[in-house]
Symmetry: C2
Subunit: 221 residues, 2 copies
DNA sequence: GCTTTATGGATAGTTATACTCTCCATATGA
DNA sequence: TCATATGGAGAGTATAACTATCCATAAAGC
């Protein structure tokens, strides 16, 4: 197919597709003449993935490129791929806590990882995010959340076990690579959305039922 | 304190603080004369919260303003506040799936919520995100993830129960409001970071141990 | 065969966001 | 008293993500 059909089928405008081609988010089609190229279903699929990463996961274009590059390099093992996706997806966090709080958080995280027996590289980008988040939680007085790390980690471990198993069982290496990307990034959105809904449900159950008389914004059930 | 000290103590530059004042992210200090104002520890704290939302949660300034407005309106119940924070935090997702996939996803989500007995408003923003995410998962061939909704929801419910309880037990209504914001937004980062670490750990355990000789981070298989 | 539309490729322009800079009249502090 | 800081307002800047315009050529419709 040519760019027009690719555009129609994906819902992405032709100029935007051209932009993605320039930015390396989409490989160019096979040229049949100097100004005609042939795009395949693989291009369509890739384009859908790009839109998912940009529109749904809100990754910046530069990060999407990083993700896709690691996806296309076939010299990586599954574990290597997972690491590459993590690095592409997790930017080094802007420092948002003061150094004191960060130091304490670092110690807490180190201890936590050791207690858990988690085999992770000490410079994994997620660790920096975790440290910064905990440091901020402490300086904002929500140490209770930071102290529940194990509760969250238990669930995270269960998720990870299922997810890694599911991904590893795919037959085709290309599918594996793509699945890592999709599962890591869209899975996060899924969990976040469900958590918000659960908040609504639980707050309705715990807070409206027992006492409180009339709310306005909400229908009282 | 005056703006200089606020800047030194928060690590935020004076021009940026002025920008936040203009944008309504920070209430102005009490004027003692036409060009002298007095800032308090509450300002410092608010500023730290703003930086956390911007640097750590990557909320755009306009969203931060929405969040803080709902935080400052004291006419809302706890449940109302939670809803307001959700709305401020969850942008309507860009359509990233085709209409067919979205329709199917909508049905799946409706059924799922009913089966769970979750009392949520049908136009909760998280539902739209959930629908769009599931639609994309389907059109990218990862229906297995979308089919595990209950696994994720079980965990989300456990999280929510703890979190809502913790927040509701705060004595001061102002603290409650702020806790909702912090817990909702930073809690998500916490969970996401732990999930990534768990991925690393689990992939090391499941994939390196069984067979493969020595990985270093790359190659082999 | 001829006109209209579409295409690949390149370059320039646009919009939005998040600051950052410059002024100015006034206030503070050494 | 005089350099420095302040509140407030307006203009300027950097970056990201498109969007528009050109052009020579190719395909499609008549």
């Amino acid at each position: 197919m040519r760019i027009g059909e690719l555009s129609r089928r994906s819902g992405v405008s032709v100029p935007t597709i051209k932009f993605y081609l320039r930015e390396g988010l989409l490989p160019s089609g096979e040229l049949t003449s100097p100004n005609q190229a042939n795009y395949t279903d693989a291009h369509l699929r890739r384009l859908q993935l790009v839109r998912a990463l940009i529109d749904l996961a809100h990754l910046p274009v530069a990060r999407v490129r990083d993700v896709l590059e690691s996806l296309d390099s076939d010299s990586l093992s599954l574990r290597g791929r997972i690491g590459a996706v993590h690095r592409a997806v997790t930017p080094a966090p802007q420092p948002a806590a003061d150094d004191g709080a960060r130091g304490a958080a670092e110690a807490q995280v180190r201890e936590f990882i050791e207690k858990r027996g988690w085999a992770v590289e000490p410079d994994a980008p997620a660790i920096a995010t975790l440290v910064e988040t905990i440091a901020v939680l402490h300086s904002l007085g929500r140490e209770d959340l930071a102290d529940q790390l194990d509760t969250y980690a238990d669930a995270a471990e269960r998720f990870a076990e299922r997810e890694v198993t599911a991904v590893a069982s795919r037959p085709d290496p290309d599918q594996i690579a793509e699945s890592v990307v999709i599962g890591t990034i869209l899975g996060e959105r899924l969990i976040a959305a469900l958590r918000l809904l659960a908040h609504e449900h639980v707050s309705a159950r715990l807070l409206d039922r027992p006492s409180a008389p009339s709310h306005r914004t909400e229908t009282t059930e």
